[in-house]
Symmetry: C2
Subunit: 208 residues, 2 copies
């Protein structure tokens, strides 16, 4: 069911570039333009567009605004996406304070933690006791969560979230949670990203 997440990643990148083109006043573009900006072949761009029903014009290329509109629909930009942050340590609070969500149709509506000293229901983005999370999720119809708990808590918390019928989790804990039919999970493992960089960086010569 989950096939490949790469095409959707490319759609996100296409959209970002097109928003910039729009801001610069461009009205049309061709597959070659867009691909070039992202190191993607024009054939790949056209294939992706075909796969997701994005059409252009033989000759004139594609309409910037039209394409953004269609990408918005595909990527769920037309309805506000409510997100909860589970685990309000350093990373959790940083993400709660991240101001990049609001321009992208996303909003962190609450945080949850087990540490009483972090709980603050009166804050602009309230932080509640994690025991109150299931009720909140149900009442507010939350479908998306960002998990920023310590590794020790990660499996348990992910089970609770799944039990609450959360549909999507962005997991920052250093443990590979697997997606299922009921819940799509993406893992961000900063240590592994650094290991990857280190592996390839070590292959770069020292002769400068």
């Amino acid at each position: 069911m989950f096939s490949n997440s790469d095409p959707i990643r490319r759609l996100s990148n296409y959209r970002r570039v097109l928003c910039k083109l729009r801001a610069l006043g461009f009205e049309r573009f061709v597959s070659d333009n867009l691909g070039g900006a992202l190191d993607i072949s024009p054939a790949q761009v056209r294939k992706d567009f075909a796969d997701y029903g994005l059409t252009g014009n033989k000759k004139g290329g594609y309409d910037v605004r039209d394409l953004i509109e269609k990408l918005n629909k595909i990527l769920g930009k037309n309805e506000l996406q409510k997100i909860i942050v589970v685990g309000c340590g350093g990373m959790g609070r940083t993400l709660m304070g991240y101001n990049g969500f609001s321009g992208e149709g996303m909003k962190v509506v609450a945080g949850f933690d087990s540490n009483p000293s972090l709980i603050d229901p009166r804050a602009i983005i309230p932080i509640y006791d994690i025991n109150d999370m299931p009720e909140y999720i149900q009442k507010e119809k939350i479908e998306l969560a960002i998990m920023t708990v310590p590794e020790s808590a990660a499996s348990k918390v992910s089970e609770v979230l799944k039990g609450c019928h959360i549909k999507g989790i962005l997991n920052f804990a250093p443990i590979m949670l697997k997606s299922s039919e009921e819940c799509i999970i993406r893992n961000i493992n900063i240590i592994h990203e650094m290991e990857n960089i280190i592996y390839f960086a070590r292959k770069i010569g020292n002769e400068d």
Copy 2:
């Protein structure tokens, strides 16, 4: 030259699982074990091992400690990896304070920012003026950087880092920086990760 980063990601995952096995007292494992823990086929595990010179024993499988040792070598775990954080806003400071690096052979040795009020050369992990960065990189032979600057500064800062012969960058700014022969770059785009999750989450039915 950069082929595919996926095999190395799998090696990171293998290593993490093996460290857990070791902690649990396991001495040996078979490709089936390891694959099962990560949703990877045993054939893929053996293929990866073959590709990176990791050998086992026909019959008895593989030795946990031996494999970890070999993976450590491949992933650069045997020498301390010094990292600088460029951009000391919320995300930058969170990463500077992240205590997961030290157990993994990595250390954030300094931060850099252009905002005078953030500069603090006396801190445990000092924060210096970004203008002093090139000198610091050269003197301390820094090869790795984490970029947590605003989008508006991202291209410029990445150019400066490349100019300083930094070999690897983990970029959190919402702009797709491309790797080159001299500098390997990995981009983490939280908005795009959420868009990906939202796309697939929306395909999950509402009938519960």
